[in-house]
């Protein structure tokens, strides 16, 4: 053990804990990180290089750590956690990694959550500068100080949040932070009046041949292990530094009991207080000197340090190349930085009126006991480039960087992508600036001119579980159910938008195909019923509704009389179909529009947009009433008998109740609106009742229809029925490039209206090309082969290996059986209406199915069945 008998500001010696590393139990104390516990237990390595397999040790003490990634096995597990940022707990179990973790597929045992809060001032970083800034801000209102250390001293008038890492700073004062909690982490969304960044500075190393061994450590990090955790990271040390804080760390290590055998400072002189202090401890100092390599023991650990001033047997090499102000958060929302020679680092450039300010070491302020400026130095002057590791996490070397340069890359962003330096889980916190410095040397340009890569959130890795928080499982997305869902819940469901709709109603042991064939036969020959409650319904009220509908639908609506219903097609300004549906005129000033199930909110938004932004003078309002109505569709030749039995007061005859009309009636004792509309081509009625009567209506229809063999059917049968009639489904048979004319629905486009949305675009030459893709029908030439949805249409017999194979269109809807039991499909086909009768191949997965082109309507072409 290398734990000192006393000391350690962060550990609680009264609370020992046991953690397991690769099956070996090691003792630690509450407050240890896994890294300090491993150092205390003298575990020789924490992992291996992801590509090189070289042994690697702990380098840093915080988020700058490039090597110490472990796979957490306990508490559900987590891939790739930095041992330097992982607080130990009793039962913690980890595996060391070779630079790459494994996805954890098990469910999280903990539940993460999220919290939104508002603050006048938020200070990130609880060091001296952050605490001073917090104390100075107490009069401004709600002040929060957060830091990722395990505990914070209380501060009057300031809320404090420990174990909390700010991960992203965004525009308008939004800060995101993750708070580590035992029961599950919490993602904080902090809305801040102003933000003070006191994020400190991160130590950077010096690159040298074989400088990636276990036992090579950052100097201030090594001193921190002594101070915080009372752990000695080595016994016999050599130090190599380029700035005063590195010397300070060497003294701390020496005073804690590390035998410092030599100090090499790359600078030509050091300040007197350091010279005196080192001399008083009999530590030899070599100025203008450098380390040139290391030699290892059998495990690869440092055993000997090779320097320009001679070789030294040592088990620890501490290096310190300088401090990088932690400007990542500053840079997230676009804050600029500049290189400072005085700091030997990139410092933030903060405008006077900035809502975000930076203080302390993060702003480039000197650390205590800094007398002389740092040297701008990044690596030793000699060495084998393939063994000078710049980013040990990505296993990238000086050789890799030179290859990038030789390939002509000079931008730091390009070199990053070529070498992958800085793209690991540490996001270049350790290697980034060092690599920029080395690149600048290679290019012979000032470091500031080369600049840094772009820092983006998150500052530390965030788990998907944390981002999901409580929005998982049933809470991941709302599920919408119709009011009569429990009557149909036994059916397999299809997701349509957020709605669950019955897909088909299988009898015991019945397949999808068999069930759908049976349901189709029932509707075509008898009567079927379906829950149509999910279709979107928008109530439009006001004297000008007709004017609006004339503008948004391609056909004429203002002439519609009460109690009529009309089918309409809606286009975007580009002339392409965006939705369709029926609209009923309920009174002079009230209209009920139906939309497709998945598109209801989109259509309502569009109507509101046009009304508010272009035609606010129109006197009307619109309201979504989808959830206010339960709807049962009753379709088939026997549907009139069923409705007549349910509504004795309603004259259902074709003469008294015409197609595309509606009536008010009592249906099964329920006040209802009955519409004669049909999506199947059959005689059909749609019964709308206030939503809470949905289940009662369903039961009544089922009971009244029993004598006629009424059959519930689902969305699959509905699709077959409508496809046989050539009714397109917007979004399935259309894709945003399809006009009403392409669908063969020119009859629904008014030529009389001066304008409607899309009319001008439909007049473009391209919209009138005769060879546009048209909606057509397809049947297999052999009458039995199935056609696959999404299959490409190519010339019959086309050589499928002669790329590119010219595509003539694609299959948009395909079904194994229509009313005649044979497969059929709908497709979009170049100049399709001129190619009826032609034979093509429908190709899926390189398998061609010969198909014959037909008109889109394959059943009841003359439309004789709608009146029964």
């Amino acid at each position: 053990m290398s734990r000192l008998p006393t000391g350690g500001t962060r550990i609680d010696r009264s609370r020992p804990v046991t953690v397991t590393v690769d099956g070996t139990a090691i003792e630690a104390y509450a407050g240890d990180t896994l890294a300090s516990a491993m150092l205390a237990a003298r575990l020789p390595l924490v992992g291996r290089g992801v590509y090189s397999g070289r042994p690697r040790g702990i380098v840093g003490v915080g988020h700058e750590e490039p090597n110490a990634w472990v796979q957490v096995l306990s508490r559900g597990g987590e891939p790739m956690v930095a041992a330097t940022a992982l607080e130990v707990y009793d039962g913690l179990a980890v595996e060391r990694l070779a630079g790459r973790g494994r996805l954890v597929l098990a469910d999280d045992e903990v539940r993460h959550d999220a919290l939104f809060s508002h603050w006048e001032v938020v200070i990130v970083g609880g060091g001296p500068a952050g605490r001073a800034a917090a104390a100075a801000a107490v009069d401004e209102g709600r002040v929060l100080l957060l830091d990722d250390r395990p505990a914070l001293e209380p501060l009057d008038g300031v809320s404090t949040m420990a174990r909390t890492t700010a991960t992203g700073l965004y525009g308008h004062g939004r800060l995101v932070a993750v708070q580590r909690r035992d029961g599950g982490d919490r993602l904080h969304h902090l809305q801040c009046g102003r933000v003070v960044l006191a994020t400190g500075a991160q130590e950077r190393g010096l690159a040298v041949e074989d400088g990636d061994r276990p036992g090579v450590m950052l100097a201030l990090a090594a001193a921190s292990y002594v101070r915080r955790y009372a752990v000695l990271p080595g016994e016999r040390a050599v130090a190599w530094v380029a700035h005063d804080p590195g010397l300070r760390a060497v003294l701390d290590l020496a005073d804690a009991g590390v035998r410092v055998l030599a100090v090499l400072d790359v600078r030509d002189r050091i300040a007197e207080p350091y010279a005196d202090a080192l001399s008083a401890r009999d530590i030899p100092v070599h100025l203008g000197a450098e380390v040139v390599g290391t030699a290892g023991d059998a495990d690869g650990r440092v055993a000997r340090v090779l320097t320009s001033a001679g070789d030294v047997d040592a088990d620890l090499l501490v290096v310190s190349g300088g401090m990088n102000p932690a400007v990542q958060l500053w840079s997230h929302p676009g804050g600029r930085t500049r290189w400072s020679d005085e700091v030997a680092g990139f410092v933030p450039v903060v405008p006077d009126d900035s809502r975000v300010t930076v203080v302390g070491a993060a702003a480039g302020e000197r650390l205590d006991r800094t007398y002389l400026p740092p040297a701008t130095r990044f690596r030793s002057s000699v060495g084998e480039p393939e063994r000078i590791f710049l980013d040990p996490h990505r296993d990238a070397t000086l050789h890799d960087l030179r290859r990038a340069h030789a390939a002509g890359l000079t931008s730091v962003e390009h070199v990053k992508r070529f070498t992958t330096i800085g793209t690991g889980a540490d996001q270049g916190r350790g290697a980034g600036v060092l690599s920029v410095g080395v690149l600048a040397e290679e290019l012979g340009r000032p470091v500031g001119e080369v600049g840094t890569t772009t820092y983006r959130p998150p500052y530390v890795p965030l788990s998907f579980g944390l981002l999901a928080g409580r929005n998982r499982g049933q809470l991941s997305d709302p599920v919408r159910l119709s009011q009569l869902h429990d009557r149909v819940a036994h059916a397999p469901m299809e997701d349509v938008g957020q709605w669950k709709r019955p897909w088909y109603f299988p009898a015991p042991q019945e397949s999808l195909d068999d069930a759908v064939a049976r349901e189709v036969r029932s509707v075509r020959n008898g009567v079927g019923m379906m829950d149509a409650s999910t279709l979107g319904k928008i109530l439009l009220q006001g004297p000008d509704v007709g004017v609006l509908l004339d503008r948004v639908y391609t056909n004429l609506f203002s002439t519609l009389k009460v109690p009529q219903v009309r089918y309409g097609v809606m286009c975007g300004p580009d002339g392409m179909v965006i939705d369709d549906g029926t609209t009923a005129r309920l009174s002079e000033t009230e209209w009920l529009m139906s939309t497709t199930t998945g598109n209801a909110a989109v259509v309502l938004d569009l109507l509101e947009e046009w009304h508010q932004t272009e035609w606010p003078e129109l006197d009307l309002t619109m309201t979504s009433v989808t959830d206010q109505w339960s709807v049962v569709a009753i379709a088939g030749p026997a549907s009139r008998d069923v409705v007549a039995a349910l509504a004795p007061g309603l004259d259902c005859s074709a003469e008294a109740f015409g197609f595309m009309e509606w009536r008010e009636a009592m249906v099964a004792g329920i006040p209802a609106r009955v519409m004669r509309i049909s999506f199947s081509g059959e005689l059909a009625f749609e019964v709308d009742v206030p939503s809470w009567w949905g289940a009662a209506l369903w039961d009544a229809v089922a009971q009244a229809g029993a004598a006629y063999g009424i059959t519930p059917y689902g969305t699959e049968t509905m699709h077959v029925l409508r496809a046989e009639k050539g009714f397109p489904i917007v979004g399935q048979d259309t894709d945003g490039t399809v006009t009403p004319y392409d669908l063969g629905m020119g009859w629904a486009v008014s030529r009389k209206k001066a304008d409607f949305i899309g009319k001008r675009s439909l007049a473009r030459a391209d919209a009138q090309r005769p060879d546009r893709r048209h909606l057509v029908g397809l049947v297999p030439v052999d009458g039995s082969s199935r056609i696959v949805e999404g299959a490409q249409l190519v010339a019959h017999g086309a050589d499928l290996t002669a790329f590119p194979v010219p595509m003539a269109g694609h299959v948009t809807s395909a079904y194994p059986a229509g009313h005649d039991g044979r497969p059929f499909a709908l497709a979009l086909l170049d100049a399709g209406r001129d190619r009826i009768g032609e034979v093509l191949d429908a190709v899926d997965d390189l398998v061609p199915v010969p198909v014959r082109v037909t008109g889109p309507v394959s059943y009841d072409v003359e439309g004789a069945r709608r009146d029964g």
């Binding site: 965004y170 525009g171 308008h172 004062g173 939004r174 809305q191 929302p333 676009g334 300004p573 580009d574 938004d605 509101e608 947009e609 508010q612 932004t613 272009e614 001066a754 304008d755 009319k759 001008r760 675009s761 007049a763 473009r764 030459a765």
Partner: protein, 82 residues
């Protein structure tokens, strides 16, 4: 995260809104009178300044009203239109 000043509800998170692009692009009074170039310009061509842009927002998760604000496309600074 942008904070959008809704004239009806006050300043709210960007996630409550839909973005509507450049403001002030009116639907032409007589689209039929426009040639193809003028019509495609209405459909597709929008200002893309480096600086202040007057743009439309829709408070879909609030008052459901459309309104215009000015936003600086570099700094995301946002203000009510003058």
């Amino acid at each position: 995260m942008i904070r959008v000043p809704c004239p009806h509800c006050g300043e709210r998170d960007e996630t409550e809104f839909h973005y509507g692009g450049e403001a002030g692009v009116a639907y032409p009074a007589d689209p039929g009178a426009l040639d193809d170039a003028a019509w495609s310009s209405y459909l597709f061509v929008r200002a893309n300044p480096r600086g202040w842009l007057r743009e439309r927002w829709f408070h879909g998760a609030g008052c459901r009203r459309w309104f215009a604000v000015e936003r600086h496309t570099v700094t995301d600074e946002i203000r009510s239109p003058s």
